[in-house]
């Protein structure tokens, strides 16, 4: 542990988060959030998804900007590679969710982060999505996340940050547990 006089600052306002948690325990309906995304097909396997608003705390919210996500498939899939593949967005979502969690937990535990990087791999056998082998699943058969963290903390404290981040991660939960999905056609 480094003794320092400067306050720990990872840029996360944990006081606000803890205040929100305490308030929401008594008004559980305000804790119901709905996240939204809209997608339009452009051409071939290329599509464009936008995210601009969500609901929660009993009202609708707008992001500061409309965020745009171009998705496509790579050239070896006979596509034009005009965006990341959708499964890469899944890795991006997992990485950013876990990393946000590491920062938040570190702030709460008064651990100063100096750098956090994560490298992710999702392995997949494409016989599944090609419909060539019914025994092979479409999705990832394994996902590996490798964090490299430089922080003013012991190795076990850093491992505990990463473990707690997984425990409280929405995307980690989405990936590791089954979720009901209903797809309708209007």
């Amino acid at each position: 542990m480094t003794i320092t006089n400067t306050p720990i600052d990872n840029g996360v306002n944990t006081a606000a988060l803890i205040g929100a948690r305490d308030a929401l325990v008594n008004t559980p309906e305000a804790a119901d959030f709905t996240w939204r995304a809209s997608c339009s097909w452009v051409h071939g396997t290329y599509s464009r998804t936008t995210v601009d608003g969500f609901s929660g705390l009993g009202q609708d919210h707008r992001h500061r900007n409309t965020f745009v996500f171009d998705a496509d498939h790579p050239e070896c899939f006979a596509s034009e590679d005009r965006g990341a593949t959708p499964v890469e967005y899944v890795l991006a979502a997992l990485a950013s969710c876990l990393t946000a969690g590491v920062a938040a937990v570190a702030q709460q535990r008064e651990i100063q982060l100096n750098s956090v990087t994560a490298n992710l791999e999702g392995s997949m056998n494409i016989l599944g999505i090609l419909g060539a082998d019914p025994e092979t699943r479409n999705g990832f058969n394994n996902v590996t996340v490798r964090f490299a963290i430089d922080a003013d903390a012991s190795p076990d404290e850093i491992r505990a940050l990463v473990a707690q981040s997984q425990k409280r991660s929405a995307v980690y939960d989405v990936i590791t547990n089954p979720t009901n999905v209903s797809v309708e056609v209007l």
Binding site: D156, R159, A163, Q166, K167, D173, I175, N177, P178
Partner: protein
Amino acid sequence: MRTTTVVIGAGHAGLAMSRHLTQRSIDHVVLERGELANSWRTQRWDSLRLLTPNWQTRLPDKHYTGDDPDGYMSMPQLVDFITSYARLIAAPVHTGTTVTRVTATDSGYDVITDRGTWSCATVVLASGAANIANVPAIAQHVPLSVAMHTALTYRAPDSLDERGVLVVGASATGVQLADEIQRSGRPVTLAVGEHVRLPRQYRRRDIFWWLDAAGILDERHDQVDDLVRARHVPSPQLIGDPEQRSIDLNTLADRGVQLIGRFAGITDGTAQFSGGLANTCTLADLKMNRLLDTFDEWAQTTRRVEAIAPHRFEPTRIPSTRMLEIDLRVGDIGTIIWATGCRSDYTWLDVPVLDRQGRIRHDGGIVTESPGMYLLGGSVLRRRRSSYINGAEADTADLSAHLHRHLDTLVST
């Protein structure tokens, strides 16, 4: 019928409270739906022993005096202990008296039973923390070919058929049942969610010696970091085994138990399990090591233990290939045992003190919203020790004092 205080439940907690009320000359009755120590008698599996060593099994004015202070009481032994305690303190117990309703009145409470109504100024709820087994709603989708049990209905392996057994939950209950069922020759799969790993002994002392000596058990409810969380932590992976053996995911795996992730759902007869097993194991290992760090620091500061140097246990070995699904229709699994926790039954409590989950809102056992009502039992009621038999000692001392002061305010107004 009138009395000053009605205690509901003649288990160890209700009787401990009775002892204090008698010493304070507070007129009271103890109502019991069945016999003394009814839950310990009727709702526990055959092999169960207390997790705490005998020397720690004590109640107000009664200590263990047998010749095996480091052993762990079986249920018949515990029932004897509690029954002889009731005799020792001459508790005014009315057995075979089921409370059907409790209501608030101008002067206190009416406790309505199948054998008449008691009017009283104060009421103590000591009816137990484990009346109802928690079973997830998804259990209704288990195929009919699979039998189901809970920790409250399971008795012994030979009451199960010969097929495989899925034990859901890795608390003390889950690991103990997985262990004994696997030993019986039935292949066990254990679904592991968040759990608490503890060694039976550390540096040749029982883990409860450390928890006691280092002051962990005396941490009060208003000192605990996150009380809601502390009250929901599963019971530690321990067994009251005469050989003092540890039980954890490694010992179970060595015995052939298959470890899988937290039970997540059932789709078309197929049970699904979380892919997050590695992290729940990492969390438990890290947490155990932090606790052992606390013990080592305490030992060094107080210079109490020098016999054996600090050491750490083998990390939990995560199976390299992890199953995420089990088809429940094919017949490999004959029984599912839901070791997913228990809760209290307060359906008879007609006083608005329950939260959304049906739990009583209270401050260390004092039901502040309903003056004169007190709660006993349950996890971390007033202190970490409250989760164990001997917690009733200090809890009833505190709460009987509060109850006495409450009665004084009634008299003076």
